[in-house]
């Protein structure tokens, strides 16, 4: 039984000095970290949705009379904005993989504008939910779902703002383009997570 320490360095070493100092996508460490965050938050969303339907199964009517379901206008508009925001997102991710600073900046700025628009319309959404969190468990879980998603939205917006500041600073370097690319992946999650929440909050009370 030998140990590596005692066997020395007899055979030719594996020289890794020629490997790149960063990598995109699933090769990178940050991609896996982001994926971990996404899985955690998806679980939170999934459990919150399950709680919604659990509470609904306990209620004689849903939403409990005399409440009306949330108004469709702002939520639907916001869904459209969110889906459209994937376009600049795709474009800045592509630019990032080519280390194209100009286009990265451009499409990141456009994506930020979409996120700001989304937050603004989200404020309007809250005015037409037609319930309060303290009215009943129905109101509580609707606000929980909306609040959870809005928290993700705001944190991702702030996060992107900081990243944008970095991209306009002299501290931008090649490996920051990996960060930018991963930031885009996280945004897809924020978009995708919204779809079942939208379907639940706005359509479950009408269709189910």
């Amino acid at each position: 039984v030998g140990t590596i320490a005692s066997t020395g360095v007899a055979s030719p070493p594996i020289d890794v000095s020629g490997l790149p100092p960063y990598a995109f996508g699933h090769r990178s460490v940050i991609w896996w970290g982001t994926l971990g965050m996404i899985v955690i938050e998806s679980t939170v969303f999934g459990l919150a949705l399950a709680s919604y339907y659990y509470l609904r199964s306990r209620a004689p009517s849903w939403p409990p009379a005399p409440l009306a379901p949330p108004g469709l206008l702002w939520g639907t508009l916001n869904t459209a904005i969110l889906l459209l925001s994937c376009v600049p997102n795709v474009l800045y991710q592509r630019a990032a993989r080519r280390f194209d600073l100009g286009r990265s900046r451009l499409w990141l700025a456009v994506a930020l504008a979409f996120a700001v628009a989304f937050v603004a319309v989200r404020c309007l959404e809250f005015t037409t939910l037609n319930c309060r969190w303290s009215t009943s468990a129905y109101g509580s879980i609707v606000f929980m779902l909306m609040g959870l998603h809005s928290t993700h939205l705001v944190t991702d917006l702030l996060d992107s703002l900081v990243l944008a500041a970095l991209f306009w600073s002299p501290k931008v370097e090649a490996r920051r383009f990996v960060d930018l690319s991963e930031n885009g992946d996280y945004w897809y999650f924020v978009v995708l997570a919204w779809l079942p929440i939208y379907a639940t909050v706005y359509w479950a009370p009408r269709l189910l």
């Binding site: 039984v1 030998g2 140990t3 590596i4 320490a5 066997t7 360095v9 007899a10 055979s11 070493p13 594996i14 020289d15 890794v16 000095s17 020629g18 490997l19 790149p20 100092p21 960063y22 990598a23 699933h26 090769r27 990178s28 460490v29 896996w32 970290g33 971990g36 965050m37 899985v39 955690i40 938050e41 679980t43 939170v44 459990l47 919150a48 709680s51 659990y54 509470l55 306990r58 280390f99 600073l101 969190w133 303290s134 009215t135 009943s136 468990a137 129905y138 109101g139 509580s140 879980i141 606000f143 929980m144 702030l158 900081v162 970095l166 002299p170 501290k171 370097e173 090649a174 490996r175």
Partner: protein, 647 residues
């Protein structure tokens, strides 16, 4: 590309000197606050968790003293409620999970041959959050705001109508601290296992301890969100009058139980699975033979991880759930016996084939077998609805889960301490004191908890602060208290052993047990960069399987924290990445989070304005520091840096 395009040291000696400088924890108190180094953080997790273990143990001893005789008046009912709630909360949230994570943080990077854990600053942040959350709980307890609604905080008891003081809010917010910390550590461990393994360590060669830590991390990722969502809903019910658990307003107290146990049952396995990793690490070393059944052991771990999420309703058999659900969850609860049985038989086969060396770690492993199997058997009993309905909320259940948790986690944990203490400290623990520790603890444990089975059958309910003398419970309770005294003596011997051996124990050397995993291939205690040279792996038992000319890895920079990233499945070298230096920002971010979490208990708007300092801290954390930035770029091959316009 020719070597030398990046800045590399001229000689092995220069490399060692540079690595020492690059990876070290800074000097003094400031350096201590800034540390982002996995041995340091791992040790802090373990030591802090042991501190809470002792605190939780003192609380347990207080309960045993109160119950030693009927109509005792040592603790009043209010204080008793706080004490059992604090005991459960401490042991589950502040001891069992963090101590296992601490083992993972300390050992996993070394076992896979990495220089540090992935996301080292997040690692530091996780520790500070955990520490502050634990301190919050104990400060609250000492000013009479200790939680008193049980470690599970069942609604409606925990709602403001029945628990109007701040006690339950403290509990709910302590959850936020510790679970956030646990989730972050889970990601760090998983990414370390996936991406930072030494070349050659393909998935089928990962040590079983590392597999166990990976499965634990997966379970944390899927289980902890449930308790975070639940405790958030609870604190919102209490603070801003949401109605999640208020039946008169369409809420449902059982929703709390579902959310709690969807976390709470996997939690048991989150604690047990790492312990199985300890067992699988120790048995080959002390039998001198490879583990029997590597593949079935890995599959059992994964199966346990999955099935653990299908059992939670067996905690709710007496809540009036439909009969079909009762049958389903009985079946699922029995099913988890299969992978656990496979594990136990693989270990027995490993012991059978080898020549067992009865050193302290092995004593505790054998103790585990005896105690855990008894706990498992009562677990099979409790999985069946009719029996559970009889003994639910009785001392039988208390006996059962202490056999499972102390047997399944604390015995292996002590084994782990005796096994890895020489690596971490460089000195051996005393074998003589180790044997005393084991026997006192083992006898004391069984004397404390075995009588509780009988007490449960005789009808003694859990969580009562006293009982009348004519109920026939007095003798067994006194016996249990006597056992607790003996257990305490055992733990005291352990503390003496640690204190004495830290300075005067026999020197350990690199590999005192002749073990097979990579952490034994470096100095004891290990240097902050773990390995020089970086190692490669040729088999499951890395050191036993190393070929006479096993290649090493060269070409990592030593002037910055360069780390080799490998591919997920085959661990072939893929790229290098520079890890961040030590930093004060994780500490500041944890401090800001603490202010926000505590402020929001007293004013809901605290959650809003309290977020501003957190944001500031996170920006400070992320923003590149001038010196770090310049040093990294100057030593790097310019071809990796596309020409960017510089301001």
């Amino acid at each position: 590309m020719a070597a030398g395009a990046i800045r590399l040291p001229a000689s092995r000696d220069q490399e060692r000197a540079e690595l020492e400088q690059t990876w070290r924890v800074g000097p003094g108190f400031w350096g201590w606050l800034c540390a982002a180094e996995h041995h340091e953080i791992g040790k802090r997790f373990i030591v802090t968790a042991f501190g809470f273990f002792l605190a939780g143990g003192v609380l347990a001893a207080l309960m045993r003293l109160q119950l030693a005789r009927p109509n005792n008046t040592l603790l009043g009912p209010d204080l008793y409620n706080q004490v059992f709630t604090m005991h459960g909360t401490t042991m589950m949230f502040l001891f069992a999970v963090p101590v296992m994570e601490g083992l993972g943080v300390y050992l996993v990077p070394m076992m896979v041959g990495a220089r540090n854990i992935a996301f080292p600053r997040l690692n530091a942040y996780s520790y500070w959050l955990y520490l502050f959350g634990g301190l919050l709980l104990y400060v609250a307890f000492f000013v009479n705001v200790g939680p008193d609604a049980g470690w599970f905080a069942y609604t409606p008891l925990s709602e403001s109508l029945f628990s109007p003081s701040k006690r339950v809010d403290i509990w709910a917010q302590m959850i936020t601290f510790t679970e956030l910390s646990a989730l972050a550590v889970a990601i760090e461990i998983l990414v370390t296992v996936f991406k930072l393994r030494a070349p050659g360590m393909s998935l089928s060669r990962i040590p079983l301890f590392v597999w166990a830590m990976a499965v634990m991390s997966f379970m944390v990722i899927f289980a902890m969100p449930a308790i975070m969502l639940g405790s958030t809903a609870l604190i919102l019910d209490r603070l801003v009058a949401t109605r999640f658990f208020v039946p008169s307003q369409g809420g449902d107290p059982l929703l709390w139980q579902h959310l709690f146990w969807f976390f709470g049952h996997p939690e048991v396995y989150i604690i047990f699975v790492p312990a199985t990793g300890v067992i699988s690490a120790i048995i080959p070393t002390f039998t001198g033979r490879r583990i029997f059944g590597y593949v079935p052991l890995v599959l059992s771990l994964v199966a346990t991880g999955f099935i653990a999420f299908g059992l939670w309703v067996h905690h709710m058999f007496v809540t009036g759930i439909p009969q079909l659900a009762g049958s389903f969850f009985t079946a699922a609860s029995l099913m988890i016996v299969i992978p656990n049985g496979v594990q136990v038989f693989c270990w027995i086969a490993s012991l059978w084939r080898g020549r067992v060396r009865l050193a302290s770690p092995m004593l505790f492993i054998l103790g585990f077998f005896a105690v855990f199997v008894i706990g498992g058997l009562t677990g099979v009993m409790l999985a069946s609805v009719p029996l559970d309905a009889q003994v639910h909320d009785s001392f039988f259940v208390v006996a059962h889960f202490h056999y499972v948790l102390i047997g399944g986690a604390v015995f292996p944990l002590f084994a782990a301490i005796y096994y890895w203490f020489p690596k971490a400290v460089g000195r051996m623990l005393s074998e003589r004191l180790g044997a005393w520790h084991f026997w006192l603890f083992f006898v004391g444990f069984n004397l404390t908890f075995f009588p509780m089975h009988v007490l449960g059958f005789r009808g003694m309910p859990r969580r009562v602060y006293t009982y009348a003398p004519d109920l026939g419970w007095s003798t067994l309770n006194l016996l249990a208290t006597a056992g607790a005294v003996i257990m305490t003596a055992g733990v005291t011997v352990f503390l003496v052993n640690v204190a004495a051996s830290r300075r005067r124990g026999a020197l350990a050397g690199d590999n005192p047990w002749n073990a097979a995993t990579l952490e034994w291939a470096t100095a004891s205690p290990p240097p902050p960069y773990n390995f020089l040279p970086m190692l490669t792996v040729a088999g499951r038992d890395a050191l036993w399987d190393a070929r006479p000319a096993q290649p090493v890895v060269t070409g990592l920079r030593s002037d910055v924290r360069d780390v080799l990233v490998t591919r997920v499945v085959d661990a072939e070298p893929d790229h290098r990445v520079t890890f961040p230096n030590n930093s004060i920002w994780p500490f500041l971010a944890a401090l800001a989070s603490t202010v926000m979490f505590i402020a929001s208990i007293y004013n809901p708007w605290g959650a809003v304005w309290g977020s501003v300092p957190i944001l500031v801290a996170l920006v400070g954390w992320f923003w590149p520091k001038e010196e770090e930035f310049r040093q990294r770029l100057e030593g790097e091959d310019p071809k990796w840096e596309p020409s960017l316009p510089r301001a």
